[in-house]
């Protein structure tokens, strides 16, 4: 089932026909998870993954020459997420109770039976910290740490330069740390 476009699939250097169906099959999990982490919930992940693939399907016939499918799909997905996040401004009110339920790591002994609970709580904390980051910081951290992309690949996805991504990642890490400490402080208060 060929789309009829010549492309270079991520990491493959030979020209070949790539099927939309193959692309969908290969990338639906990665794109869904990336969007899930960027948007923070499964409803948005579902809707925007669908939109990503529909846009890709629509755009494929217009693609001229070679195309790196992976970065291209991530670019569509992250742009969609950024637009959504900007539109919503993502100002969420966090009830204090939800923060109070988070254990502070220092409250838990290393071999405590509550460690598993802590892991879960810690995942939720990370999730909340990510949600509080500006969209661009969140996007580059998710692409780097969660999707394992290099600075060069992230630059391709975000449409910027490699050195800009380096700086962006540094600022994002600093912001992550600051938000994390803030939330931890609120949790242990």
């Amino acid at each position: 089932m060929a789309v009829g476009q010549c492309m270079v699939v991520e990491g493959v250097q030979t020209r070949e026909e790539v099927a939309f169906d193959d692309i969908f099959e290969a990338y639906q999990d990665r794109i869904y998870n990336c969007i899930y982490r960027l948007m923070g919930n499964s409803e948005d992940a579902y809707d925007l993954t669908q939109e990503t693939f529909l846009r890709a399907y629509a755009a494929l016939p217009k693609v001229k020459g070679e195309l790196k499918v992976g970065p291209w799909l991530y670019r569509i997905a992250t742009n969609l997420c950024m637009d959504q996040l900007r539109r919503r401004k993502l100002i969420r009110w966090e009830p204090l109770e939800s923060l109070l339920s988070v254990f502070h790591p220092r409250q838990i002994a290393k071999d405590s039976p509550e460690r598993e609970t802590l892991r879960q709580e810690s995942r939720e904390m990370v999730h909340r910290v990510l949600e509080k980051l500006p969209p661009k910081y969140r996007a580059c951290l998710v692409l780097r740490e969660y999707q394992g992309m290099s600075c060069e690949e992230i630059a391709e996805v975000l449409g910027t330069t490699r050195s800009a991504v380096k700086s962006l990642l540094f600022r994002a890490r600093e912001e992550f740390r600051a938000v994390h400490e803030r939330l931890e402080g609120a949790g242990s208060a």
Partner: protein, 496 residues
Amino acid sequence: MKCDPRKLSYYLDGELSPDEIRQLQQHLETCARCADDLARYRRMEHSIRRLERHRPPAELRHEVYREIERGRVGRWRRGWSRPLLSPAVPLTAAFILAAGAAAVWRLQPTGTAPVMTAAFAVQESPESLEGLRLELVFDRPVAPDSVAEAVRVDPPLSFTHRVQENKVELIPQTAVTAGSSYTIVVDNVRDRQGNVQSEPVVLSLNAGPIASLVQESSPPRPPSVPTADAGEPKLAQAEGARSAPEGAVSDVAPTQLPASTGPAGPPAPDGAMVAVASPRTSQATATVTAAAVAAAPAAEARSTVVPTPSAPAPTARPTTVRVSPESVAMTIPPLRSPTPAASRDASPDAPELLLENPDVQRQLGSVTSAPRQVPLSEQAYQGGAMLYRGDNNQILVLVRSTARWQAFPNTWRPGEVLAPLGNRPPGTFEPLRGFGKLWRDQPAVKNQLGWPVYEERSALGTVQSFQKGALIRSTFGVAYALFDDTTWRALPDARR
């Protein structure tokens, strides 16, 4: 080296030179603060990496394909070159066509005249006539060199034609103006055995804003064969089809088509088309609304083709059909003509589809269960079709030449990579996933089915059990009757 948190970040990203790395590592040995910061970055990295990964819901795939099928993105699909797979002829049409052509093809003895079984106006976008083309489908492969002489257009319009087995594509070489109309007469098309189309088919092309192609005279019904087991003739035909040159596009030629002299049906005063039907035919006329038409105003979408009985006069008599401007009409000869007696035999719970196909109804027996929705994938092959039932994880192989079906367990698992295939014949597709695995693992299946001629499509379909078989209805316009004696029939199911 001074403390520089940026360097720590760059270090983690692999963005430092070997010299810088060495300097940083020396610094970290003496600077507890930077070592602490680096550890904190690493913890953050680890915590993000450990976040759980989710499986996208199974409906996501269906939803994406449903949206594509609805033509939600149809207007952007310019440049897709697969005949019958372009947006304006969605799978509904493609599969009806495949099934219709397959059924007729199977029953068609050699030595008879080729019959045109369907015609489409294909539009890449509902907003533009750019890329408009016509597709004519015959019940067997046709001789490419017979096409140029066989098609006449009035007023004259320059076309390129392309022949792909039993499909003829006519591509206008000049822009077709919105609002214009043409009469197209298709006559004397030859099959590869030299049999010549015996009756002209007259088509009326109304260009836009949404193009429609109306058949104004019905093609003659293929000779009726009493049973599906048509024996030698059927086999000979199937062999003939297989022995055709591999591939598909066998001819591309620019053609200045002469003006038609055929009888054009005048438009009725209210905009309805008047069709001239052969008295010898009793063909079912189905309307397939193009996917791209989904964007058309709802008010325009209400019209459907309303077939009326053709008069039993010895000469051609008009049959009136009403065609919505945005629909594409196609005609598929029914596998059997319904008879009132047969209709009475049908169980009251039988789907309406079977009332129109009483022989299938009789062969299936009475209904034993209500239709159940099941995930269904289907793919048409050169020699039949494969169906996947998501409810029992079975793949059904339907072979046209033997009219037999067989069930296989699906052994493919998501993520499993299949062996790459060598060169495939032009116009065919690579079988993927479960179909692909079965096709590769079972040489008999591969030999009987040949290569896929359409993409695999998935959607929710229904399965209904009967005393002596089951009826599987896809959302792509085909119903498959699978009988317990391992024979099968495909029925056009245009209402779905």
